[in-house]
């Protein structure tokens, strides 16, 4: 039984466009989402922003309620910002759910905006070097997110026996979806081959340049209402059916792989059970992990691939555009372009788009149920949710 539904979505193409300001993006995404929902602008009663990472000015403006005023949303009763890194959008949707359940708001606008292109490169690196990194026991050694992902990948490859070619094929798979995504930084560009991935510069072993992410600008918005209101509106909608979460540890130093893998498995199973959906009935696994190298491990945890076979499944093209498993149909951050906490928002927009039947060339035929997860920091948690096109 569903309590809330997404009834409107808005999104701008992910790109490096310094002339496109934060507010320029906010106007476009929010107005598109509200118009898409069929709800009048003054009927929006709540606004929740997903905290933008490393952008203190816009973060302050959004946290302190400037958005409803700027957009002329006359019916808004409250405004807030939520932050759990990459897991922020899941929490924004939970807060929307609470506002709707408690009567604070009937309809809630959730939005995210990120502009990386006006930040100097050194500042971009610093933001990602400090986000969730322990300032006493990690940072002084010179670590970064790329290095942390390198540490994880080194160990995963040691334990699973996955070969570099198989790991590189995850990039090829994710980018194959991006090629057909008009809102991707890589729209219309051929996915790189395994050879091209492996011949790109080494950033932090075993992570090559093409196995990391390109920072870009973007934004997206969603309109959330009660499931009952969504049915009354009568248009296509994405209903939230079930959710589950686990916390693993703030620094990956104290996180065993087995704990994460088990948590990914348990949250998936619990979310499915709460939704009353069988695993075989999931049409889309819209996985969010930011870096490609964690995808094989997730595929195994979700039993989409057998144990130890996750990387091979990607290498065989099964998760690619045209393959037999619909997986991360915007290609996660490697496919979309990395917009910080915005990649999670973009994933929810894609889940709603697929369930609404509006994903164009990427449309999963007959998409009824989708798995959507999010995770924060270097993987401190996993929030699994199941969405359906009917309540």
């Amino acid at each position: 039984m569903s309590d809330i539904a997404i009834v409107g979505i808005g999104e701008v193409p992910t790109a490096r466009m310094p002339e496109r300001t934060h507010w320029d993006i906010i106007f476009d995404t929010c107005i598109e989402a509200v118009e898409d929902s069929g709800i009048g602008k003054d009927e929006i009663q709540g606004v929740i922003s997903v905290a933008p990472l490393g952008q203190p000015v816009i973060a302050g403006e959004l946290a302190y309620g400037l958005l409803p005023e700027r957009l002329g949303l006359k019916g808004v009763r409250d405004s807030a910002m939520v932050n759990a890194g990459g897991a922020s959008t899941s929490n924004a949707l939970r807060l929307a759910e609470q506002w709707i359940a408690s009567g604070v708001a009937d309809s809630v606008l959730v939005q995210q905006v990120t502009v990386h292109s006006t930040m100097p490169v050194a500042e971009q690196i610093e933001v990602f070097a400090r986000a969730g990194i322990d300032m006493q026991w990690e940072y002084p050694y010179g670590t970064t997110y790329n290095i942390i992902m390198g540490l994880l990948a080194t160990r995963y490859m040691y334990e699973s026996g996955a070969r570099p070619e198989e790991m590189a094929s995850v990039v090829t798979a994710l980018r194959s979806w991006a090629e057909h995504d008009p809102n991707s930084l890589f729209y219309g560009r051929s996915a790189p081959s395994v050879e091209q991935v492996l011949s790109s510069d080494m950033l932090a072993t075993p992570l090559h340049k093409r196995e990391s992410n390109v920072l870009a600008d973007g934004g997206a918005a969603l309109v959330v209402v009660s499931a009952e209101r969504a049915r009354q509106l009568g248009g296509p909608a994405a209903f939230k059916l079930g959710e589950s979460a686990r916390y693993f540890g703030g620094t990956c130093l104290e996180r065993e792989f087995s704990t994460m893998a088990e948590g990914w498995r348990v949250t998936g199973e619990e979310a499915l059970a709460r939704a009353g959906v069988a695993r075989e009935d999931v049409d889309l696994w819209n996985v969010y992990l930011a870096y490609p190298l964690a995808h094989p491990m997730m595929a195994e945890s979700l039993a989409v691939a057998p144990p130890g076979q996750g990387a091979r499944y990607f290498a065989e093209g099964r998760m690619s555009f045209g393959g037999d498993i619909a997986w991360s149909t915007i290609g996660d951050a490697p496919g979309r372009g990395h917009t910080g906490s915005g990649v999670g928002t973009a994933c929810y927009v894609e889940t709603a788009r697929q369930l609404m039947g509006r994903a164009g060339k990427r449309q999963v035929a007959g998409c009824r149920f989708a798995y959507q997860n999010s995770a924060g920091g270097s993987g401190f948690n996993n929030i699994a949710s199941i969405w359906g096109r009917e309540a």
Partner: protein
């Protein structure tokens, strides 16, 4: 460019005093015998404040590692390439560190390593290098 120093907390001063003296200290809980890393104000297992320190023999094994070649903060650019690792100490804790005096191509998970202290300002950071002759105290 100045490299960052550890942001010391009131209960971690002893650890950094130890490294200045060439000692690698491991925090222990006297109530539940837990070995603790990173050091805490209270034991993360039982919340006891009855905590103390033991001196590590300085030997560990590499749990995982990554060698950085680019895209690090400007303050660390002159160190490139450098290797970050998690090392499991014989005393039962795992810490982030750097591996030095080792060709990245020779590095492997499970490799035995010994602590070697590296000065930065008035702090000495515990780095590790491949173990020699099987003696931790060489």
């Amino acid at each position: 460019m100045t490299k960052p120093l550890p942001e010391v907390q009131p209960w971690t001063g002893a650890f950094w005093d130890g490294t200045r003296q060439g000692k690698l200290l491991v925090q222990v809980c006297h109530s539940c015998t837990a070995r603790i890393f990173a050091p805490r104000k209270l034991c993360p297992e039982c919340w006891s404040s009855d905590l103390g320190w033991i001196e590590s023999a300085g030997r560990g094994t590499v749990y995982t590692f990554s060698t950085a070649y680019s895209m690090v903060e400007p303050a660390f650019a002159d160190d490139l390439p450098f290797t970050i690792a998690y090392v499991d100490l014989a005393e039962g804790i795992r810490m982030m560190t750097r591996i030095v005096e080792c060709d990245p191509a020779e590095l492997a998970i499970g490799m035995e390593v010994d602590v070697v202290f590296h000065a930065r300002g008035d702090v000495r950071l515990p780095y590790f290098r491949p173990a020699r002759n099987g003696a931790a105290d060489e």
